[in-house]
Amino acid sequence: MLRSVPLISVPRVLSRLAQGLLVVFISASVAFGLMRSVKGDEFSHLLDNTNATAAVIASLRDDAGHNTPILQQYGSWMSHVVRGDLLTSKAYRGQTVVSLIGAVLPNTLLLMSLAFFSSLALGIGFGVWQGVNTDSRSDRIASSITLGIISMPDFWVAMILILLLALHWPRLPTGGMSSTDVVGFSWQTLHDRTRHLVLPWLSLTLINAAAFARYQRAAMRDVVGLQFLRTARAKGVPESVVISNHALRVAVLPLVTIAGMFFPALLVGTILIEKVFSWPGMSALLTLAVNKRDYPLVSGIIIVGSAMTALGSFLADVVRELLDPRLRR
């Protein structure tokens, strides 16, 4: 008897959500531990650089809660994190970490999401084609190419693209997100933004599409020999429909899981490529934070980074639940 089954198992989704939150919580704890393991604090430099006396600095430390027990400091740090109210940056005086990250995050997300979806589409398409024509001559050549690409560091691919294309083709800029002389909202602006986006997007897409293609090829190979496809062919379903509707529906499921696991790598890749192209995103902030030893900013980036990847894999889990009827019990 048919029973109506919910599209999504709520307990499982909730437990995945809880795990994602736990990851962010532990990242915040690690960030706290890192900040506290540094000798000196944000007031140490005052003694050398200003006229402040030791007594004034001690009272500043008192006000900031540095003399309270470590557990109490941890509790106050966590309550700040929960409220989304991180500390103030050291390198940018008076700016909160949240406002600094908030200013650059959209740029990173733009590059990251464009590259993610295009590499997923490209990788799945390429992998399916390889999986169907498995062990043919073209499949072997394609496999060597993808193996070569996944062996390259992301940022080196970007550097080589600059050397190959941008230096000989000035219409493709090597850095930044927009030209200074193009402002306002117009077709010209859109064209300018797109021009700046091409190379960073291309480098990020190449690397990730090659990786996705390798996984998709393996997944497709596992499926093409299965009985239900023979049944479909036997009852006269055209080959293209067998592949796209019957085989791919099964073979794409592992890819959704893999895509969810890919978010940490994707974030790191984006950060590295942003650095090559001086893209005004998280990378610029991170490099500055590391060089200036701006620990509040570093820990803010760790927390936001972990939240981004946790959210990404959570969404991948939800998509998998929606796509795979076998999970609905």
Binding site: M152, P153, K275
Partner: protein
């Protein structure tokens, strides 16, 4: 299960060739054409590749080919040692959790799942910025090794879990074999193939990771391939393409060799569980 076909493996020409390549990298710097500290003697800085300097020279007159040989050695040593640490920790953790089982196993595996999701790259970068001097080679090895074992533990646990259901385990237990002996003499030999695949893929993965860390400004060993690329980035690199090209090609060749070796090992042993690790 059959014994791993080691002979068949060693007879494969590709495997031999790739192993020989790795060994060559380890000894190559001793045969480098130029001394790395001999810079600034001749006025030959920023020389493009020529017959005297096959990869050109850098800003300090140093022969890039000799630097790349040294860098490949340093990067390979870092990656191999860090991977060895990750494998050792992950193997012990995975085996213990699978053999003890029950809630203990569940808790341990939940810990690895969560640790695996932490932003490892960002945390490593933060740690390197806290240490005031550039990281030394042993520090870098420890840091990368101690944060890279979660996936090894997960795969080992899965493999041991499935081995434990075999009849020969029951037979061994029936003869009164202790748990430690069961693990060391009966289970472990079956893990060698999966470990070999994880080791080769892991080395390639760490080389890329280290290069990325150095590129983003984590202070580290000056001679690694990542540092070479880092110093070539920016203005000097765009005018002097060889500074960008050759260290990168060295990374690609080593990682490609690792990935190809991993694939070859997987074809021989066919442990289905090990897919190429997502490169971070």
């Amino acid at each position: 299960m059959q014994r791993p076909p080691v002979r068949a493996l060693l007879l494969r020409r590709s495997v031999l060739l790739l192993l020989a390549f790795m060994l060559t990298i380890l000894v190559a710097p001793y045969f480098a054409p130029y001394d790395l500290h001999s810079g600034l003697v001749s006025q030959t800085k920023y020389q493009p590749p020529s017959s005297t300097h096959v990869m050109g020279t850098n800003t300090l007159d140093v022969d890039l080919f000799s630097l790349v040989l040294k860098g490949s050695q340093v990067s390979l040593i870092i990656a191999a040692s860090a991977t060895a640490i990750s494998l050792a920790i992950g193997l012990a953790y995975g085996m213990i959790s699978a053999m003890v089982g029950g809630w203990f196993e569940t808790v341990l595996m939940r810990i690895t799942d969560i640790s695996f999701s932490l932003p490892r790259f960002l945390i490593l970068l933060a740690v390197s910025s806290i240490v005031s001097e550039p990281l030394s080679v042993p520090q870098l090895i420890l840091l990368i090794g101690m944060t890279g074992w979660f996936e090894v533990a997960r795969l080992t646990r899965g493999e041991v879990g499935s081995l434990l259901t075999r009849d020969w385990v029951l037979a061994a237990q029936a003869t009164g074999v202790s748990r430690a002996r069961l693990a060391a003499r009966h289970i472990f030999p079956h893990l060698v193939p999966i470990l070999a695949v994880m080791a080769t893929l892991g080395i390639g993965h760490v080389i890329v990771l280290e290069a990325g860390l150095m590129f983003l400004g984590a202070g580290g060993p000056q001679s690694s391939l990542g540092s070479l690329l880092q110093s070539a980035s920016g203005i000097s690199g765009w005018d002097h393409w060889w500074l960008v090209f050759f260290p990168g090609i060295a990374i690609v060749l080593i990682v490609l060799a690792c990935n190809a070796l991993g694939d070859a090992l997987r074809d021989v042993f066919a442990p289905e569980q090990v897919h190429a690790w997502p490169t971070t």
